[in-house]
């Protein structure tokens, strides 16, 4: 009995240690990536430098029932600093006044538009444009979900690159100028690039721009700031540096339109459509035997509102978990397959370790290790080792990410904010982390039951001046 208990503890601890080791490697790679990144000029310099050569971009903004914020979002998109871009808003069968608000606010009228059918999407009901805003096109289509709306946008775009965003997010004015850099530096190789997502809860918004950066007062929003820092500044930056990046956030990613068309666009039958698109691109390019790059750039920022109550956050986390599992299951032949190189070994290795078995083993550890120790079946060092792996190493990784942020990017405006986030990096390990694992188990359960759909994401809207 004691032997079995020790075996269970060993599995839990070794899994935790392997995950931590992977995070430590990511930290090192993230530090290297930040330390060796190309010079980051001011946006005025970038504009001057890129004005003649920047490839045209279609910004695709799918919108579903966004009547409260859509006008402000579109105004903010139209004010982006980029030499050549168009904004395509896709009204995905909203049943509120989203389309009417757009038509009224921008003086739109119904027009014809010759579009292709390169990727699958639900029928388009009409196009709306205005001579006063030649950069804006609104596509009204039947509801089909976010992936379907993005596919409709891809069909409508006439530019070599498209940028997929969430209509309710706020792109910083120079975000396109910054995220396009790999497409300028390596135009023949780059097929996709992602930027940083930051949490806007607590910030003030004025005319579709973040006018004052503040930390939120809500605990859940604060914890998610630390989580996003870990996800973007550590994991994505490192995986980008390793050329093993499998996720470009659906809220902000720039893609080579033709390559995306070649893989059939966004997939419909998954809630992880952003991750699946990147995996399909990797598979496609490797199957063709072509050299390519998928990059992550830390400087361009897209601001988004995160859930600040348990009910919505739990649904989001379960959905993310389900999305990862769906992608992993759909492309399982790539996992640990040397034919797919670092994508198969590192990218899929990470999903396997962190998303597939991670929550299962960690929850098993929470339940069994203290219990077995309490029953006298495990010696104290086993319990201490488990606690060390779970808590102290977790705290270290978060602290180290904050150190990286402060040394390299310095986007937190005040010393007090850094101190608050340092405190949160400790506190989140006691309670929040366990709760997250529980939500991820719910995602596992939904995946097993083949549950579909996104659920409802209730947004409060940005705090405006």
């Amino acid at each position: 009995m004691g032997g079995a208990a020790e075996a269970i503890a060993l599995i839990v601890i070794v899994t935790g240690l392997t995950q931590t080791a992977f995070y430590l490697v990511q930290l090192v790679y993230a530090a290297i990536a930040l330390g060796t990144r190309p010079p980051v000029p001011r946006s005025a310099t970038l504009w001057h430098r890129y004005s003649e050569q920047a490839p045209a971009i279609s910004v695709l903004a799918p919108a579903f029932n966004e009547e409260l914020s859509i006008v402000q979002s579109v105004r903010s998109l139209l004010a982006l600093q980029y030499p050549d871009f168009e904004v395509i808003v896709i009204n995905d069968g909203s049943n509120d006044g989203t389309l009417a608000k757009l038509v009224e606010s921008f003086g739109l009228r119904k027009v014809e538009r010759y579009v292709g059918e390169a990727v699958e999407s639900a029928p388009v009901r009409g196009f709306y444009a205005s001579r006063d805003n030649p950069r804006l096109l609104v596509v009204d289509k039947e509801n089909g979900g976010k992936a379907d709306a993005l596919n409709a946008g891809i069909n409508c775009s006439r530019t070599p690159l498209f940028c997929a965003i969430d209509a309710d997010s706020i792109l910083e004015a120079d975000a396109l100028l910054r995220v396009v850099r790999p497409f300028i530096d390596e135009p023949q190789l780059t097929i996709a690039a992602g930027g940083t997502i930051r949490i806007a809860n607590g910030c003030k918004v004025d005319a579709g721009r973040i006018s004052e950066i503040n930390l939120p007062t809500n605990f859940l929003a604060l914890v998610q700031i630390v989580e996003y820092l870990r996800a973007f500044l550590m994991a994505r930056l490192a995986l980008g540096k390793m050329q093993a990046l499998l996720v470009i956030s659906g809220a902000f990613g720039l893609f080579d339109r033709q390559r995306v068309v070649e893989v059939g666009g966004y997939s419909h039958a998954t809630v992880g459509e952003d991750m699946e698109l990147v995996i399909k691109l990797h598979r496609h390019m490797r199957d063709l035997g072509l050299a390519y790059r998928v990059e992550f750039i830390a400087e361009p920022v897209c601001w988004t509102e995160c859930p600040d109550n348990v009910r919505v956050l739990s649904r989001q986390r379960a959905r993310w978990q389900r999305g990862s599992l769906e992608c992993f299951a759909k492309h399982k032949d790539m996992a640990l397959n040397p034919r797919y190189g670092r994508i198969g070994m590192i990218g899929f290795g990470q999903i396997l370790l962190v998303d597939v078995i991670g929550p299962l083993v960690e929850v098993l550890g929470y339940l069994l290790v203290p219990l077995l120790w309490g029953l006298g079946l495990l010696a104290l060092p086993w319990l201490l080792a488990f606690l060390a792996v779970t808590f102290t190493l977790g705290i270290f990784v978060s602290m180290a990410t904050l150190v990286l942020e402060e040394i390299q990017l310095r986007r937190l405006t005040k010393a007090r904010e850094l101190a608050v986030l340092a405190l949160i990096a400790v506190v989140e390990n006691f309670g929040y982390r366990q709760l997250c694992n529980f939500w991820r188990l719910q995602g596992w359960w939904q995946f097993i039951r083949k549950q579909q759909g996104w659920g409802t994401m209730t947004r409060k809207g940005f705090q405006t001046n």
């Binding site: 010079p39 027009v111 010759y114 059918e117 390596e186 180290a400 005040k414 101190a419």
Partner: protein, 329 residues
């Protein structure tokens, strides 16, 4: 132990940030004082040091972006008197590539530092090398193109789209050196395409050479299509025979680019070929063909109207919608 190390490091950074926040108030004060000095146009000012010099340097870079002509000359004269170029020179030897690049680009604004900028063409960082080359070429001080190709390792390490800007600047004063690149067998196709784009932007004169390049495929349809688009930008009708062949190319990317070029050069005699492409299997080709027809004026519009009324479904749809789009615009 690891945790304590992380916490200690973070504490240090928080303390450093507190001091930095205090310093930023001073910086703001110095900025407010220096802006009118820099924009005042009076170069009879004393040198500044320390924080003032750093702020003056940053301000010079910011203001130089928004000034031109005599205003910029006066600004740079004041900056020179304040000691900004000396500070930039020191920064051009920084260990941080970002600082070196900023310093080099800014030094290129001052007349007496061309040799420092030229030296940066040997920098270990490719971005600094390219920045130096662009800065030099913008003021017509760039060395020979062959030397730039060698130092920047164009086509091997350097493939940036900014090479087109660089070559365009060079082509303005020495087009023959850019033309020479096109016949250099050792140069990768991607680098040649940058030269093609640069020559196309400089107009009519180089069209026959570009037509020759377009007629000889590089092997990469993407690059070949770029050559056709460049050919279109020259607006030269002498390349009609190459474009006609491009319209029938088996690769859709080349057909689409050739159609685009046909419209740009206004080759009305190819209206029927473009009309045929309205029923191409590939949407991009149909779209570019329709767009080109609409640029051809009445002969193109007539082909579009015939296609719209015709029985070929793909062509009819393309022509009908594009005509409607045109009418609404």
């Amino acid at each position: 132990m690891l945790c304590l190390a992380g916490a200690f490091m973070l504490s240090l950074l928080i303390v450093a940030r507190i001091f930095a926040e205090r310093a930023s108030h001073n910086t703001e004060h110095v900025r407010k004082r220096l802006v009118p000095v820099l924009l005042g146009g009076d170069a009879n000012v004393d040198r500044v040091f320390g924080l003032e010099l750093r702020v003056a340097t940053r301000l010079t870079l910011e203001l130089a972006e928004f000034t031109r002509g005599t205003d910029q000359v006066e600004l740079l004269a004041v900056a020179d008197a304040l000691g900004v170029p000396g500070f930039l020179h020191k920064r051009s030897r920084s260990r941080t590539a970002q600082k070196r690049l900023t310093a080099i680009e800014a030094l290129a604004l001052f007349d007496n530092y061309t040799d420092v900028v030229e030296y940066a063409l040997n920098d270990t960082n490719p971005h600094v090398r390219l920045g130096a080359a662009l800065a030099l070429s913008a003021r017509s001080d760039a060395p020979d193109l062959s030397e730039l190709v060698r130092k920047l390792r164009i086509g091997e390490v350097e493939n940036s789209l900014l090479l087109v800007s660089l070559m365009s600047d060079v082509a303005e004063r020495d087009p023959s050196s850019v033309r020479a690149l096109l016949t250099d067998a050792s140069l990768p196709a991607a680098a040649k395409v940058a030269a093609v784009d640069a020559l196309a932007d400089s107009g009519y004169t180089h069209a026959p050479l570009l037509a020759e390049i377009a007629a000889n495929p590089s092997g990469d349809p993407e690059l070949q299509a770029r050559v056709f688009r460049a050919l279109g930008r020259t607006g030269h009708p002498g390349s009609a025979h190459v474009i006609e062949a491009g319209l029938a190319n088996k690769d859709w990317r080349i057909r689409a680019a050739a159609a685009e070029a046909t419209g740009q050069i206004a080759l009305r005699r190819f209206a029927d070929q473009l009309g045929g492409l309205l029923s191409d299997d590939h949407w991009s080709v149909r779209f570019r063909a329709g767009e080109a027809l609409l640029r051809l004026g009445e002969p193109g519009a007539a082909v579009m109207r015939r296609a719209a009324a015709g029985s070929e479904a793909l062509a009819s749809r393309a022509a009908t919608i594009l005509l409607a789009e045109k009418a609404a615009s």
